[in-house]
């Protein structure tokens, strides 16, 4: 931990040597979910996606308030050594509710899932809809049945006390609701993130970042609370927030103004006195009607090693070295193919679609989605961007092309433009080259194998 001049923050920088960047060739492994879209209801649409810390489980949340768990399969004959998953269990995590006080319906849609570190017996998972965060424990419960009760059957008086006996049955996967963290948010919760101290997690909505102790559901500390003087004047909202992966004192949040704020609890209890902004100065020359909308960061995350932050807005992806807050390492106009269509996208309100971003296990790549069933794997330096599609229509030919900034000047594009078919969530396995990609109601798994640079082109 040392003080970094430019930012003035004490930053924990991982000094672990990074392996050489290997380009990866991606293979479709498996897909789950109803293929016939006419049979799919709105409730079946996937709304969140998460790997657990070991990568043995994937959980998928949908708009119906369900969380479906997939477990890493032992490797079927067909797939060989591929990293594949199979259905494991399902929980009805949230139900739709009505807030009588505010006369609004609270949807059951699962906005976010976060697995807790596995130091305990069983799996622990936080799930949230717009307002209520729940802690679930999923475990193998042994069935136990008691018999030989004192008052069983006999109408006669009791002569002596008996202690019932226990008969044990088989084990079954059970989900137990352990805690409910509520009343901490006035707006819709957009993020959940566990702290590296294993004891706390944060939740964020448009105006607030709350820190909870996992064990305490009736107290909350608001680390960030943007004061609202007039609800119609709100000019900046929090779009995502996350704890640093290894340093429990640091967390960041991204805003609709295209800023990432990195905050340090040690410096001050007021976040504005302890945070540093990572943002590019506004380019007034290029400013147009859409600037404000497309500059809003839809999601930001830390690289797994904590040295970088990745952010996604409507058009670009950026990599920030946490030691340098003035200029990003990478500022790639990944979806520049959308720029010509902004008017149409505004008309159809697609311009407000939020695409998430996630980091690879080795912090070398970022993964983010796009339209027409496609998604992009971009290396941290912005040197290459692989475009793939995740759909049942053409699983084998899902590879669309690679864009190398230093070799081919032509930016990536999509084969067709179908704005109804979008990949908003895609995540990377915590320690292997495998991806889980959500498209509408379907989950797709891809495996990556390292290839030499030249082989790809």
């Amino acid at each position: 931990v040392r003080c970094v001049q430019e930012t003035g923050l004490y930053l924990k920088i991982s000094m672990k040597a990074e392996s050489q960047i290997n380009q990866l060739k991606w293979n479709y492994v498996n897909g789950y979910g109803e293929r016939d879209r006419s049979k799919v209801t709105e409730q079946d649409v996937l709304s969140s996606l998460a790997f657990d810390q070991t990568g043995d489980y994937i959980s998928v949340g949908d708009k119906g308030g369900r969380v479906i768990l997939f477990k890493k399969s032992q490797g079927s004959k067909a797939s060989g050594k591929a990293i594949d998953y199979a259905y494991f269990s399902e929980i009805q995590s949230h139900e739709s509710e009505f807030d009588e006080l505010k006369s609004v319906e609270i949807e059951e849609k699962i906005n976010r899932i976060e697995w807790l570190n596995r130091h305990y017996k069983g799996l622990f998972m936080l799930t949230t809809n717009d307002k209520k965060i729940k802690l679930w424990k999923v475990f193998n419960k042994e069935e136990k049945k008691a018999y030989g009760f004192n008052l069983e059957g006999t109408g006669k008086g009791i002569k002596a006390l008996k202690i019932p006996k226990i008969k044990k049955g088989g084990k079954a996967v059970t989900a137990q609701l352990k805690k409910t963290y509520q009343n901490g948010h006035d707006y819709h919760i957009n993020s959940l993130s566990q702290c590296a101290d294993n004891e706390h997690f944060l939740s964020a909505d448009d105006m607030r970042v709350n820190i909870w102790n996992i064990n305490i559901s009736n107290e909350v500390y608001s680390a960030v609370d943007i004061p609202i003087e007039n609800a119609e004047d709100i000019s900046e909202v929090i779009t995502s927030a996350s704890f640093h992966p290894t340093d429990p004192n640091m967390f960041m949040f991204s805003s609709s103004k295209g800023v990432i704020k990195l905050c340090d609890f040690r410096v001050n209890s007021q976040y504005d006195k302890s945070s540093v902004d990572y943002a590019l100065p506004e380019d007034t020359q290029k400013k147009n009607f859409f600037s404000e909308i497309i500059n809003s960061i839809s999601y930001a995350c830390f690289a797994k090693n904590g040295n970088y932050m990745f952010s996604r807005d409507y058009i670009t992806v950026k990599t920030w070295d946490i030691r340098k807050n003035k200029t990003p390492v990478t500022n790639l106009r990944l979806c520049s193919y959308l720029e010509r269509k902004l008017c149409d996208l505004y008309e159809s309100e697609n311009i407000f679609d939020k695409f998430e971003i996630s980091s690879s296990h080795d912090s070398q790549f970022m993964l983010t989605g796009s339209y027409s069933d496609s998604f992009h794997v971009v290396d941290r330096q912005g040197g290459s961007a692989v475009t793939l599609t995740a759909s049942f229509d053409n699983p084998k030919g899902s590879y669309i092309g690679t864009y190398h900034t230093d070799m081919v000047k032509k930016p990536p594009t999509l084969p067709t433009f179908d704005f109804s078919r979008k990949v908003q969530q895609a995540i990377w396995h915590p320690n292997l080259n495998a991806l889980a990609v959500a498209n509408h109601n379907c989950l797709f798994v891809f495996n990556g194998t390292p290839v030499s640079y030249t082989h790809l082109t």
Binding site: H119, Y120, K121, L161, I163, P164, N215, P248, N268
Partner: protein, 610 residues
Amino acid sequence: MCIRDRSTWDINQQERMSAEDKSSIYSIAVLIDELRNEDMKKRLNAVRNLPTIVQALGPDRTRTELIPFLCEFVEDEDEVLASLAEVIGGLTEHLGGGQSLLALTKPLELLASTEEGIIRDKAIESMKKILSLCKAKEGETEIMGIIKRLINNAETFASKLAAIAIIPSYFAQMSTANQQEMVSFYRAGSGDENPQIRKAIAANLKHMIAHVPKYPEAEALALFNSLCKDEQDTIRLYCVEQLLALSQVIPYQKSNTFLLSTIKACAEDKSWRIRYVLADKIAEVGKCLDHDAILHYLSNYFANFLQDAESEVRTIAASRTADFCKLVDGTTIVKRLLPALKKLSTDPFVHVRKALAENLLPIAPLIGNANTSEHVIPMFLTLLKDESAEVRLPLLKNLEDLNRVIGVESLSQSLVPTITQLASEKKWRVRMAIIELFPILAKIMGEAAFSERFSPMCLSWLDDNVFAIRESAMKNLQQLTIVLGSKWAEKNILPKLLNYQMHTNYLFRMTPLFAIPMLAPYLSQEAIEKTVVPFILNQIADKVPNIRFNIAKALKSISAYVKNPALYSAITKALAQLASDQDADVKYNASKTNAAQSTQILHLSLIHIS
């Protein structure tokens, strides 16, 4: 006849006995069954009644049957388990000693390994309680077996957390070999990669330090040093309390430089939470140091805390100021601390100013008259004008401290407007608090000065539109009467109360009926008989029933202070009239009063006779 009767009685008695017996067996049987009921509330109730079940079963059956049954519980709801963990600790008294006692540790061992902190903590507490009852050498093998199983449980690290907490409570009873093993377990834990383990070690190290020299001093210092340098500040947070524990067991001079260097590290820590903890415990830390060290080092750190960039640190430091100042001499306070405090009186954070306001006046007796006038009074006056009532209020609460050094009389010119302002503050809490202050003010200022400035105000609250305020105003007047005496009350309060008789709103006509019984014990005989009672009797024809029944109530309590028999008969007559009132409530209260009064009259007549 007689014999038959007797035998019937015997039979009845027998039947009743066995029925009682049966019903108690039955109720316990129900409780036992309910331990496994589907309804969580019933299970919870049964668990809470475990002592009854254990008493009925006796130690042997409890050990061989009930405990193994309870061990099958550990997948129940958290609430049931937390209750179970707590209740088991209370079963000790029903179980004698030895093996039965140790049997209780079985379910506790399972409960201590759960991931839920509340259950674990309760299980740990119960476990400690049981271990403390185990005599030395008794069952050491079993107990060490439990501890070692907790340490080595690979399935969950929660059991390790439990072991860390339990070890210090049994450390003294362990064999040397086991002690060594635990020492190395603690050492390994202090370097564990899981921060929760390190934190548990940090939180419990002070209990281990208490075992020095059985717990090696070098070991204590090594762990302390390593935890003080931990990268996580939640772990460094414990370093101040460990230091306090260390200074209890390690001879003073030897550790002096060591103490100072550690305190310096905490005082200059980059994380404000560490500085906060030191500022919080500054007085206790001061007690471990000699006078020189306090003057040269600690008071400088403390002055820095008062000017810390983090408002939380300034707040806690300000709120420890009165305690800390007792450790240093007047000159240090004036030279080192007062300049810092002066800045705080205009701090942007209200909590800081509030903490300062609470601590400012207690300093006055420590620095004497001249310094108080020069330094404390200007700050006092600044804070007195503070925009927040929460800041102004504590100043007044500590006025007695200031009064001891320099008379408050000289300040009354600046005090009066503030008090007047606070008394009309929007926040009711502030108004209530200021009302409570008046008896103290009255004591300090004396009757003449007080009634000149504040009597009208105290009386004006009786006109408040809110009953709660009128009620506390009455209580205040009662307190003031105690302090200032009956003459003051008769001169100031009574005329005001009598005026309410003419009020058009019956709610205000009620005020004297409530107030008079409260004041009666402190008024003179003359005032009661000549003014108060005739006044109440005068109102008896009020057209509002509510007034009439409150008259009845008031007469009841006041009659205890009336000695004149003529007046007594007047009261009785009035009550009789009310007892035949049209309104049912008036009737009820009047007749109730009558009963109370007749005994009173009886009592009175007896006195006259004697």
